[in-house]
Symmetry: C2
Amino acid sequence: MGEMSTGSSGGSEGVAVPKAVVARLSLYCRELQHLVQQGRTTINSAQLGKRLGVTDAQVRKDLAYFGQFGYPGIGYRCGELVEQIRRILGTTESWSVVLAGVGNLGHALLRYRGFADQGFRIVAAVDVAPQKVGQEIAGVRIGHLDRLSEVMQAHDIRIAVLAVPAPQAQRVAQQLVDAGIVGILNFAPVTLTLPEDIAVVGVDLSIELEQLVFAVVKKGVRP
Amino acid sequence: MGEMSTGSSGGSEGVAVPKAVVARLSLYCRELQHLVQQGRTTINSAQLGKRLGVTDAQVRKDLAYFGQFGYPGIGYRCGELVEQIRRILGTTESWSVVLAGVGNLGHALLRYRGFADQGFRIVAAVDVAPQKVGQEIAGVRIGHLDRLSEVMQAHDIRIAVLAVPAPQAQRVAQQLVDAGIVGILNFAPVTLTLPEDIAVVGVDLSIELEQLVFAVVKKGVRP
């Protein structure tokens, strides 16, 4: 994750939860959803951890931030734990999202089917290019960035995906915040400067590749 | 980052470097590159940290895993530190990449200009769809997945970007590894099971949105 703050959010009892824990929670949830699809009803912490490369102790410790979820002698009920984690993450409710920036990446994000599977719907998109405004992609009509507020009111949107070029990212992010956005998923390769109460998660595709290269080089491989 | 391993790689003196440190190194590098473009020649740890939302102490502590880089009374020389970090990350050399899966996301990744800026070139792409094989996108001809080894030999490729649908991800990943790939940037929303010596970085776009939603909900916002 690209966020730079030292990484904790409130747990169920006000305890600060490290970002790494929240990240693993999403991975547990994803794996449990696969298990449910495969017809698996229960799993214990060792089995779940093994699928994800973490110890049973780590799984239990992560979940312990939020409550007690296991059944003695059984472990976890997969379907139930999926719902419990989704409640913790806030994703039992569906979220309407606005996409800012309909370039190559924006196009792909509009068509990304994984979002709907998890309760996220891109319901609106904005851009500034005249040839784009008015187009419809994946059932979403592209509006002009300057009419963002109208778009937001029409759809009750709280979060945005930012996929504009780096030089425009800060300015457009500020416009999103001014229009009422409280959370931004930022794909532009810049760090945004926004008020403390705005949540930002950055995904920099080049940085992800850099992290991969570092891991590869450490195993002794060169290009 | 989606990797589940407890997150450290070798530092300059064999000390295990936490993944969070390596992630911040990339962010420092990115910010320093912006500063260089803006004509800034030096910066101290407090100023650099402020731009990224971390303390001066954190910046110095992160860099200390890899050596001493500051100049007394000056701080860091921006251009020099960019190069030093790129050497640490392994990105002073350019890396050839193969893209597996040329769907919506794959298309966008083929056209993503940020990769080239950081020394990554997608030089080959593979898919299985007959209507895609033979097409050329962004100067890259799409080959068939089954001819991967020929592609790899022609281009001296070590790392791959995996952008196939979830049900095919594990199988294609194994094919990539069998053909000699040692590092995979995985966009499929599944955890891959691969030998320990294969590096994997996962980017799950839905999980990134989930992390954002969790942060937003913790600030008291509902959809």
